[in-house]
Each structure stands twice: as C-alpha cells, then as structure tokens.
C-alpha cells in the first residue's frame, strides 16, 4: 500500500467528516458526506478490495445519499436554528462517544504488535471470490440481510399506504 496515497485519502476522509458534522446547511453537510464516501472508496481500493470500493460508490454515494438529498430538498430544510437544550444533550452524547472512541484507539494501539496480515492472494477482493464467500461461508447472514431488507420494504409500503 502506497503510504502517500493512504495519508492523502485518510486525511481527506477525516477533514470531510469534520466538515460534514460542522456545516449548518443540511445540503452542504450531505455533500461533504458524499466526498467522505469517495475517500473511503479510495482507501478500500488501496487495500485491494476493489469490489467493496465500487459498491461503496454505487450504493452509498450513488443511491443512498441521493435519496437523502432528495428528501432534504423536498422538505426544503433551511439552516436550522438548533434549540439550546438539544445542543446540550447532543454535546453530552458526542463527548461521551469521543471519549469511548479514544479509549478504544489507545487500547488498540497498545495491542498492535499482533501477527502480521497474510499477503493477499492473486485476485483478492475481486468480484468472484467475494461472491463465492457470500454464497458459502456467509450464506446465512447474507440471506438474513435480505429478509431484513424485505421487512423494511414491507414496512415502508404499509406506512406509505396509511397516509393515503
């Protein structure tokens, strides 16, 4: 893995994540998240997980965020005036989470001289090996996920119908 590329895209991911959280305008916020997904896709590609990288762009940047932005535009949200009490609560929650993450990171760094990773084999991260794993070793989680998605679809149809 090329360290220059890694630090470039890693830095981009961090910066865009910060920008996403700090923007007042919801559309700008959503767009920085899209850029963040790109940085992530690049990191996946550097780890030679090509399939995941493409799927990251296709699903997250191309489909899910488009729906988010679509909804924001439809509701025509303005720059929100956040209520003081909400701000306090969210600050508390965010602070707690940050502390938790820092503890996790430190614990992880202390444990780092673990066994080195195996060298990735030829064709690692391509479509065919990922598909083979999905349909053999991880078949049950894969099928359960599809059931979960079906439940979500049925739920949204029911909710949509009730309003009509």
């Amino acid at each position: 893995m090329n360290p220059i590329l890694f630090y470039t895209f890693g830095g981009l991911a961090v910066v865009t994540a910060l920008l996403m959280v700090t923007r007042q305008n919801p559309i700008a916020s959503a767009l920085w998240l899209v850029v963040n997904f790109f940085a992530f896709a690049a990191l996946f590609a550097l780890l030679s997980a090509h399939f995941i990288a493409v799927i990251q762009i296709l699903l997250y940047a191309g489909a899910i965020m488009v729906l988010f932005i679509f909804v924001i535009m439809l509701l025509n949200l303005r720059e929100e005036e956040i209520k003081p009490r909400q701000l306090q609560f969210s600050g508390l929650l965010g602070g707690g989470l940050v502390i938790y993450l820092i503890v996790l990171l430190v614990l992880g760094l202390l444990k780092i001289p673990a066994a080195p990773f195996e060298a990735s084999t030829e064709g690692f991260g391509y479509v065919a090996p990922v598909g083979r794993l999905l349909f053999t070793k991880y078949l049950i989680p894969f099928e359960l996920t599809s059931v979960l998605l079906l439940v979500a679809i049925v739920g949204s149809v029911v909710m949509g119908k009730r309003k009509l």
């Binding site: 559309i27 700008a28 767009l31 899209v34 090509h50 399939f51 493409v54 799927i55 762009i57 296709l58 940047a61 191309g62 489909a63 488009v66 729906l67 932005i69 679509f70 535009m73 439809l74 064709g123 391509y126 479509v127 065919a128």
Partner: protein, 423 residues
C-alpha cells in the same frame, strides 16, 4: 513510468474523441430533426461559401457560447452552482475509461490494451459513475434557487433513481451468461458469432436496458426534467454561456457513452459478425486490399454524387461551387488511392506492428460505427415519440420494467443452470 504515460495518452485520446463527436451529434440532431419534420435544417452559416451541409453551425455555436456574457445570478448558492456543470461533464466522460475499443494488441511481446482500465468490476464501475450523474442535475436544480429549476432537479433525481434499478437488473442476465463483470470478458464471450451476441440471447434485457438508458440520459420520451412546456427549461434554467454549454455537452457525451455501452454489452463490441479476430490476423493483407479498394471506390462514387449537384448560376455567387469544392477532392482522392492500389497493391505486406495497428484500427472503426448508429437511434427516437406524462413514466418504470427485468433474471438463471450455457 511508461505505463503511466501510456495511460495518460489513452485518456487524452478517448476524451478527445468524445469531445469531438459532440458537435457532430449536434449537427446530426438538427439535420435528422429537419428531415423528419420535412424541412432542410441548418444551411446558412458558411465559411467562404462552404457550408458542409450545415456543420458550420456547430462551429458558430461554439464561438457563440464561448463569447457570451457569463452571468452569475445574485440569488444562487455559489459553490454548488459552479460545481454542478463540472460534475455533469466529468461524470459523463469518465465512464469511457472501461470501454474496450478493440482487441488487445501485442507489441514486442507486451500486451497493449485499447481501453484505459480493464477493471475487474468493470460494469459496476459504469453504474457507479453514472449514478453520480444525478448530483450534477440535482445540485444545479437546488443551487439555482429557482422553483422551476428545483422542480426539474427533483424530477430528474426521482426518474434516475427509478430507472437505475431496471438498468442494473437488466444486465444481470448478461453477467450470468458471461460469468464475469469485466467488459473485455463480456465482449470476448459474445465473440464474432452473430447468434452468440447478447441482442439475440438477451432480447428482453436489451429493450429494458435501452428504455432505462433513455431515462438515464434525460432524452425524449423521458425528458421531463427539462419539460419546456411546464417548467421552462428545468434544472439549467439559470445557467448561461459556457456553464450551460457544459450541460449541453454532457447530454451528448451521455448519449455517446450510452451508445458505447450498448454496443459493448449487446452488440459484440468491436467484433465484426462472422469474421473472427484470428481470421483477421491471418488474412490482414487481404483485408487491407479490400478496404483500400473499397475506400477508393466509395470516394469516387461519393465525390461524383456530390459533384453532380453543381449547377452554374444556381445562386449566382460562391455557393455555386460548393459541391465542386467537396466533390472533386473526393474523386481525386479515390482515383489516387485506386492508382496506388493498382501499382503497389500486390507488394504491400503487413507485418508486426503495422499489422497490429491496422487490425486495431479496423476494430475501432467497427466499434465506432456501431456506437454512432446508436447515437443516431437516440436522435431518431427523440423526434419520433412524444413526451411521457410523469405518472406514466413512474408506472412504466416501477410496474412494467422492474418486474420484467426480475423475470428475465429468473429465466436466464434457469437456462444457465439447466441448459449448460455457462461458459
């Protein structure tokens, strides 16, 4: 290092080709529209009396768009307003990166791909990039701060999301048959046998894909995002000068890319029906002679046909000589080629590098010919069918094409499983 330079050259070449087909397509659009509506089309703009059948109009357009005042309306969201046309054009052109234009050439024992990147997830890359195209339209609609633009942007995004699903599902059948997502594998699997092309083996997928592609490119009969009668011009209503031109070019670039993808997926890519790449390599000299003589003959006949239009005193000015200016060089070129063919035709033997270049050139031309036919098809449909109503569009997408695509996957899966078609 050389790989990087090669990739840069290829990227530039492909971008250059796309950018230069755009004005040709605009000319084609105007001419085809005119002939479908029984009129002559653009025929006024001229350089020294030469009109090239109206093609000079495209040049005039470029100069007009470059020199127009670039207005930045005061009420827009500036960064997004500026980013939207760039995204639109960028997304439309980078899809070309994975399209194979010809068989890989072998130069000095090294394989030379005629495509920028042969990605393992090739077709997924195409979908991933084309799904980003929504951002250009959506941001343009929102940043303009104009209710017509916003409506156009919303319509575009709803439409593109709906049709992307059918677009993606339609090609799953092709994945099943080819056993790969690589575009070069899909082309190789179709081969030069016409009956193995996916248009024959996956006709349902082809029609779903075609209809969804029209919706993706926002072309008639699905051009509701810019429905002039209802919402002025839709998402690009606030844009002027080159920023508008970028949207305009992106639309045509989308058509070119879409045609290339249809050609690759369903029409055998660069294959010539019934003439395999191996046969071409073995009989390169014969093919060169056929092409040489054929080109000479076409030049003479075409030049003669154009020169026949010459009438003295038809207009009474320089325009009289236009057929001669185009026709006579055509005839002369043809005669010259024919003469060279008679003199040197027997002595020419293609070897090594030249043979590879000749065959690759032939394959690229075949590919571009197929792609240009589909570009024409896009224009043909635009001037033939009326616009859909919005609810009809959504009903067709969700209740018609989506179930059909699912049934197609099921049937193809059965055939592959029980028919032993799997390669």
């Amino acid at each position: 290092m050389t790989d990087g330079i090669l990739a840069a050259v290829k990227t530039f070449a492909i971008f250059f080709v796309v950018i230069n087909i755009v004005p040709v397509l605009i000319w084609m659009e105007r001419k085809v529209a005119a002939y479908i509506q029984d009129r002559r089309g653009p025929n006024r703009a001229a350089i020294l009396g030469i009109r090239l059948g109206g093609m000079i109009h495209s040049l005039n357009d470029v100069i007009k768009l470059f020199t127009k005042e670039d207005i930045l309306p005061p009420h827009v969201n500036k960064p997004m307003y500026l980013a939207a046309p760039m995204i639109a054009m960028f997304v439309a052109t980078i899809t070309m990166a994975v399209i194979p234009f010809a068989d890989p050439m072998t130069i000095g024992g090294k394989k030379f791909l005629l495509q920028i990147a042969d990605l393992d997830a090739g077709l997924l890359y195409v979908f991933a990039v084309s799904s980003l195209g929504i951002y250009g339209v959506l941001l343009a609609g929102w940043a303009a701060n104009n209710k017509f633009a916003l409506l156009g942007g919303l319509r575009a995004s709803a439409q593109m999301i709906s049709y992307e699903i059918s677009l993606g599902l339609a090609v799953v059948g092709i994945f099943l048959l080819a056993g790969s997502l690589k575009l070069s594998d899909i082309v190789a699997q179709q081969g030069s046998d016409l009956w193995m092309w996916n248009i024959i083996r996956q006709p349902v997928a082809f029609f779903i894909f075609l209809a969804a592609l029209f919706a993706e490119t926002n072309r008639l009969p699905f051009d509701l995002p810019e429905g002039e009668a209802e919402i002025v011009a839709g998402y690009h209503v606030e844009y002027s000068s080159m920023k508008f031109a970028l949207f305009f070019m992106a639309e045509y670039a989308h058509i070119i890319v879409g045609s290339c993808i249809i050609t690759t997926l369903f029409f055998g890519g660069w294959h010539i029906p019934f003439i395999s790449a191996d046969w071409m390599r073995a009989n390169a000299d014969l093919l060169l002679k056929i092409n040489w003589a054929g080109f000479a003959l076409v030049s003479i006949l075409g030049g003669g046909y154009i020169a026949k239009w010459f009438r003295k005193g038809k207009y009474g000015d320089l325009r009289d000589f236009e057929p001669l200016v185009i026709g006579v060089p055509g005839i002369l070129t043809g005669v010259g080629l024919l003469g060279l063919f008679v003199l040197f035709g027997d002595q020419v033997h293609l070897t090594g590098l030249w043979k590879g270049i000749f065959i690759a050139g032939l394959q690229v031309s075949v590919f571009l010919a197929k792609a240009l036919f589909f570009c024409f098809f896009f224009i043909w449909v635009r001037w033939t069918l009326p616009r859909f109503r919005y609810d009809q569009l959504m009903r067709l997408g969700w209740k018609g094409m989506l179930p059909l695509a699912l049934v197609n996957i099921l049937v193809t899966g059965w055939v592959v499983l029980f028919g032993g078609h799997h390669t």
